[in-house]
Amino acid sequence: MNNLESLQFFIPELFLTAGLLVTIIVELLLKKEQKVFTAYLAATVLLITIFFLIRQYAIEPAALFGGMVVIDPMAVFFKILTAVSTLIIVFFSIPSFRVKAEYYVLLLATTLGMMLMAQVNDLLMIILAMELVGLVSYVLAGYRRSDPKSGEASLKYILFGAASTGIMAFGFSYIYGLTGQTNLFEIQQALQSTQHNPVILFVAFVLIIAGLGYKIAMVPFHFWLPDVYEGAPTPVTAFFSVGPKAAGMAVLIRFIISIVAGVSADGQTFTANAPIHAQELLAVLAVLTMTLGNLSALQQKNIKRMMAYSSIAHAGYMLMALAVFTSQSVEAVMFYLVVYMFMNFGAFWVIHRMTPHLGSEEITAYTGLGYRAPLVAVAMGVFMFSLTGLPPLAGFIGKFYLFAAVIKAEWYILAVLGVLNSVVSLYYYAYVTKVMFLNRGDDESAVSISSYDTALLLVFLIPTLVLGVYWVPVISWATQSLHFFLG
């Protein structure tokens, strides 16, 4: 489809860009005490964007802008997921960033980048969309300029990000050199029609996985993550843990269904384009990712660092499912991301709102919280057990689908290693709950919680509980969205 015809299928992105520009201008007209208005404006823009996105389900899968991006239900799913996660983060950030209008502009720009990542279909667009998310994320990580830790987080993020993007671009150059194409589906056809030396394809695959793996925090490209999560302001950390990760998963899925493997017309069978053992490599990396994440989380004293390693482990669970290359596993990852959004945001919200009251981010500071702020502590316990994957919470259903996909593909060893990892993770998640309820701290004064805090807490708590017993709507949403544009 040519550029002009494509515009009608690009309304959400165009609206978001317009909203971003309006937010910049409106910010100039506001007095300092009125600047919180830009947050509400950003939220409204995102809400309308989500409305436009939902209407995109009616569109037949097609390639837009001469094949630069595609529109298909999977892209729409990830676009909605990332837009919703940013919408939540806007409300998450209002208490701490009241007068920071630029912050909301940057959030909107990142959302645009994540939405593009969900629908990329060209090597050039992959780099551009990932850089749009990446470059703005570096600024967001360093947003608290007075805090040296925040600056350190930003610097570490930018150095790792630049290196991994460079490596990925180098991998793309091999693919381009072999096939002479940048469009993912033309590359797929070129790879299927001619036999190339598998060694070169393997090297290119490894180089590209380095770039994508950095985005989703895959071992061994995870070094930036604990420092960035610890140093960045907590709302930004929460933002990084879901939206960009989901977008990175979307790019990885696109990469798998086009360059690494071909998908049959019904979307059920995946056949590898070249014998490069991509699945085995991904499986090994997935096991390394979850094991390293879980074992390192065991030793953490700082709760944000613990959550950082936990997020590495969760990336490992999702990679484990992706490694088996079935439509079921893609569906399981999509479902898991929805569940993960609620429970992870919930945990970060508790950390964010409790840190000023507790005076520290150490896990020991949470001692006796169950007696000082019962609702918050119970909610935190629910999020922790849900992240572990215990029934009857949403995390259990999410993990159940992941493991079911792996077992159905008969990768039993991988599934066993995943379950063992979940058992390890129980220790550090349960430890937080233990200090909150079984120990009593010195300070037993009640912590007062505003109604805004409680309301947002319930927004995370209720889905985490409800999706554990009634998850049919979400899984059927994921199933409906499991429909790719295939060239």
């Binding site: 837009l64 630069m68 470059l135």
Partner: protein, 167 residues
Amino acid sequence: MEINEMLFLAIALTTVLSALIVALSKKIIYSAFALLLTLIGFAGLFIYLSADFLSMAQIMIYVGGILILILFGVLMTQRIYDPSQITAHNSIWVSLAGGIAMAAITGAVVWLNPWGKTLAKDFEYSTSRIGSELLTKYLLPFEVISVLLLAVLIGAVYLGRSREVHK
């Protein structure tokens, strides 16, 4: 040997040697100046690949812009000539092993594949074609870059401006 090949060898040699100085020099100011030669060498190599526009862009952006920025950064750093401020180097053996491994892998890739042969056709200016493709085939990436630059500009201004003055 034709003059063409001799020129190519000269450019390639300059690029590699100056890159070595960048990596091995103990004084950062030497590294910065050697980088100038490396970048100009790259521009020359681009011309050999018939990428005239890319080569000019390389000179304008990297030599004209980024390198000057690096030099300013180096010159404004205090105590740059202090012998205790030499740039740190990792263990030479580790770096060498990494470099050789990388060279072996890329060498194998180059060796194993029959890459596209040089086309025997006349040199044509690429600038006008790049211009028209940017506004037709590559319109979306072009527009996305403009949003990216806007966002990065806002971010850079935020990070770079001095603290707000309290009234």
